[in-house]
């Protein structure tokens, strides 16, 4: 429901007090689950996301196996209680599309040729949702894959830029997403700057797009530092325990 009475800027600040290029607060923790081969818990603004990685393990059913490389099964799932109005459990069209684009984004970065016939299963559970869950989920998946020790060229990371009330901003919050003019989620490989995921809804001129893409990539790079810190933190704890 678009509403012209909603004001997304007050005194030059966004509704949650951020400047245009500020991220929401992010907290990342690696290795939080007992059973999974790798895991990550991530809070990003109001989002709470848990990721468990299993694999590489034999792909089942067998007809899904690729005898040259591992397959990646990312499964993005929203808990029934994660949103304002309860969501019916199980995959819907939106979650299946997001699972697909995240799987494709991860495939580029993983050394899949090392594990023919295997599957790498990335379970992304959105426990509490508040705008930007696909970027948050992909970011957490990157950390969980690293935690699982699965060989990767890089740790993929994602962040969105967007436009609200005519201004370009980084990392849309809930109201900005609902009432804004454009949303541009982007995932990159931070080492090479290659773009792994890109979607856009809304309305941007070519110039705005150029700037928004640049903004999103800068956001990705900031989040990338937080990913690395979380992974280092996990290894530090492990070393201390030993």
């Amino acid at each position: 429901m678009k509403n012209d009475n909603i004001k997304l800027f007050r005194d030059g600040k966004r509704v949650d007090g951020r400047a245009t290029d500020d991220l929401r607060p992010i907290k990342i923790e690696a290795g939080v689950l007992h059973r999974a081969d790798g895991s990550c818990y991530l809070e990003w603004g109001g989002n709470k996301i848990m990721v468990a990685v299993y694999g590489p393990r034999e792909a089942i059913p067998r007809h899904t196996q690729n005898h040259l490389r591992a397959i990646v099964n990312a499964r993005y799932n929203m808990a029934a209680f994660s949103v304002e109005d309860r969501k019916r459990p199980g995959p819907d069209r939106r979650s299946r599309e997001i699972s697909k684009v995240i799987s494709e984004a991860l495939e580029k970065i993983l050394l899949l040729e090392k594990f023919p016939r295997a599957s790498i299963d990335v379970n992304i559970e959105v426990l509490n949702a508040e705008a930007g869950t696909r970027c948050a989920g992909l970011t957490a998946a990157g950390v969980a894959l690293a935690d699982a020790g699965i060989p990767m060229k890089d740790i993929p990371v994602a962040c969105a830029a967007g436009k609200i009330e005519g201004q370009l901003v980084l990392d849309l919050g809930k109201e900005e997403d609902n009432y804004g003019d454009a949303d541009l989620p982007v995932a990159i490989s931070p080492r090479t700057g290659e773009i792994l995921l890109l979607q856009m809804d809304g309305h941007l001129t070519f110039d705005e797009f150029e700037k928004a893409l640049d903004m999103a990539i800068k956001g990705c790079n900031k989040v990338s530092e937080l990913q690395k810190a979380a992974i280092i933190q996990k290894y530090k704890v492990e070393l201390e325990v030993e």
Binding site: L33, H34, R35, A36, G46, K48, M50, V51, A52, Y54, R57, R75, N77, A79, A80, F81, S82, V83, E84, D85, R86, P89, G90, P91, D121, N123, E125, L127, N128, A129, E130
Partner: protein
């Protein structure tokens, strides 16, 4: 798949014959229990419960709905459990399997039959509009004894739930044109209020392997268990629900012993729960 359990069985049975468990617990003891409330801001009530490494998140959502024809003045409660692939290498995605269905139904009956929720207070317009309560249970990490973790998380979520008047108000005000009695309801309940509840029973689960019965079975113990018994008891120590599982059997004496141990552990867990939810 058949070798590992047999080695586990041998090892755990040998320990058991010496009165021991692999994690040094006594037969009747639980692993550490940790209850966190308010874990899911979007939910009306929520909790994360850990029993040892087992981890479960439960969320309560509420919505307006139509009553069943045979209970026109009562709210409606639904429980669903998802054993998502996150929690175990053995869980698959797809529609819930028998295990998840039994889990949800046992938790559901524990809540429904013991009448914790005062469903008669969840009527807004008799015969027309009632509150629906959805309890959704997400298994995050599976290291044994899902029944107790899931039911404890559900209870903690319910006991901290707020009826979301603020969120639903626009819809209620619209419905008021058709059902003027909603005016009274909104006068009585101008803002979110605590979900009205009765005293909950606490579920305790035991598992039997060989001649041993242990409480709060770990995953390894569950894998070799022949029979399982879940007993829900209330504050007075009365029995409010039971469910036997797996393909082994119990003697009458074993069942009585398990019930007594469930009453004892139920008391301890209830104290912990009340402390956390502030009762």
């Amino acid at each position: 798949m058949t070798i590992t359990p047999s080695i586990k069985r041998e090892y755990l049975s040998k320990l058991a014959s010496q009165g021991k468990r692999a994690d040094n617990r006594k037969f009747g003891d639980y692993r550490p229990i940790k209850i966190e409330i308010g874990y899911i801001p979007k939910a009306e009530g929520s909790a994360r419960v850990k029993i040892g490494n087992t981890q479960v998140v439960a969320g309560v959502k509420m919505d307006l709905g139509d009553p069943y024809p045979d209970t026109p003045d009562s709210g409606v409660m639904t429980t669903a459990a998802e054993m998502i692939p996150m929690a175990s290498p053995d869980f698959e995605s797809g529609p819930p399997r028998e295990d998840a269905i039994e889990l949800a139904r046992v938790v559901d009956r524990g809540i429904r039959e013991s009448e914790i929720i005062e469903v008669e207070k969840l009527c807004i317009v008799p015969g027309e509009k009632i509150w629906m309560i959805f309890i959704d249970i997400h298994i995050i990490d599976y290291d044994g004894n899902l029944f107790d973790a899931a039911s404890l998380a559900s209870l903690a979520a319910l006991m901290t739930a707020n009826v979301p008047i603020q969120r639903i108000k626009p819809m209620l005000e619209k419905l008021q044109e058709r059902y003027p009695e909603i005016g009274n309801y909104l006068k009585e309940h101008p803002d979110n209020y605590t979900l009205p509840l009765r005293e909950p029973p606490i579920s305790c689960t035991s598992a039997k392997f060989g001649n041993v019965i242990v409480m709060d079975p770990s995953l390894d113990e569950e894998e070799i268990a022949e029979a399982r018994l879940t007993v829900a008891t209330d504050e007075k120590g009365d029995i409010r629900a039971m469910q036997k599982g797996l393909n082994g059997s119990f003697t009458v004496d074993e069942i009585k012993k398990v019930i007594k141990a469930s009453i004892d552990n139920g008391k301890k867990i209830r104290e912990e729960l009340y402390k956390i939810v502030g009762k």
